[in-house]
C-alpha cells in the first residue's frame, strides 16, 4: 500500500535521520575502538571500554533497529518496494546482516566493559583485552556501501520486480 506524499516524506525524514545517525554513532564508537587498540594507559583504556559499551547499547543498537524498521516501511510504502530492485534488496540484506553482527558483538563489548569496570582487573589484563576494530571498521564500510547504494540507486530489477511491472502494464493498457 502506497503512502501519501506527506506521510512518505515524514517517514523518509525519520529514516534518513536514523540511518545517518547510525553511521555517525559507529564513527564515534570507532574513535574509542582505536583508542582501545592503541592506548597503553590503563585509565584511558577503562574509559574507552565503558564508553564503547554505552555507545553500542544505548545509541548504535537502537539506531540500527529503528533504521532497519523505517527502511522496510519506506520501501513498502513507495513504488520502489522491498524486493523489486536489486539496490533495495541488497541494502536490506546488508542492513540485516550488519544489525545481526552488531547484536552479537554487543555481548563482546559488554564483556569488555564489565572487565574494565572491575577494580580488581589488573592493568596487564586490561591491555590484553584488545579491541573490536575489525568489526567496527567492517561495520562502517558496510554502512557506507548501503549509503552509496541508496544515493546512486543503480539500475536493475529483480525477476519479481519485472513480473510486477508486467502485471502493472497489463492492467494499465487494456
Amino acid at each position: 500500500m502506497l503512502m501519501s506524499p506527506g506521510l512518505r516524506k515524514l517517514v523518509f525524514a525519520v529514516h534518513l535521520t536514523l540511518s545517518v545517525g547510525w553511521v555517525g554513532a559507529v564513527a564515534a564508537y570507532l574513535a574509542l575502538d582505536i583508542t582501545a587498540a592503541t592506548e597503553g594507559n590503563a585509565q584511558t583504556l577503562r574509559t574507552a571500554y565503558l564508553g564503547m559499551d554505552r555507545i553500542a547499547r544505548y545509541v548504535i543498537v537502537p539506531l540500527a533497529l529503528a533504521s532497519l524498521l523505517t527502511g522496510v516501511i519506506v520501501s513498502l510504502g513507495t513504488k520502489w518496494g522491498l524486493f523489486r530492485h536489486y539496490w533495495v534488496l541488497i541494502s536490506l540484506l546488508l542492513t540485516t546482516v550488519a544489525a545481526a553482527v552488531l547484536l552479537s558483538e554487543t555481548r563482546t563489548i559488554s564483556l569488555y566493559a564489565n572487565v574494565a569496570a572491575d577494580p580488581a582487573t589488573s592493568d596487564h589484563h586490561l591491555r590484553a583485552l584488545g579491541s573490536t576494530l575489525p568489526h567496527s571498521i567492517g561495520g562502517i564500510v558496510v554502512l557506507v556501501v548501503i549509503l552509496v547504494l541508496n544515493v546512486y540507486k543503480p539500475k536493475g530489477m529483480t525477476r519479481y520486480g519485472q513480473r510486477k511491472e508486467r502485471e502493472r502494464s497489463t492492467v494499465l493498457t487494456p
Partner: protein, 49 residues
C-alpha cells in the same frame, strides 16, 4: 534510504554491478569460513587472559 519522490526505472536481467557484488560477497564468506576452519580465534576468546 529510499527516496520517495524518484521514479523506479525498468531494466532486464541481472546487472553487472549485482554480479560483482555477489562475487565479492561470496569471496568474503569463503575467506571467513577458511579462517574459521584454519582455527583463527574470533570474538572475546581472542584477547582473553
Amino acid at each position: 534510504m529510499t527516496e520517495p519522490g524518484s521514479e523506479p526505472e525498468r531494466t532486464t536481467g541481472m546487472p553487472r554491478w549485482v554480479k560483482v557484488f555477489l562475487i565479492v560477497a561470496f569471496l568474503l564468506v569463503v575467506a571467513f569460513v577458511v579462517t574459521k576452519l584454519a582455527g583463527v580465534e574470533h570474538g572475546p576468546g581472542l584477547h582473553g587472559p
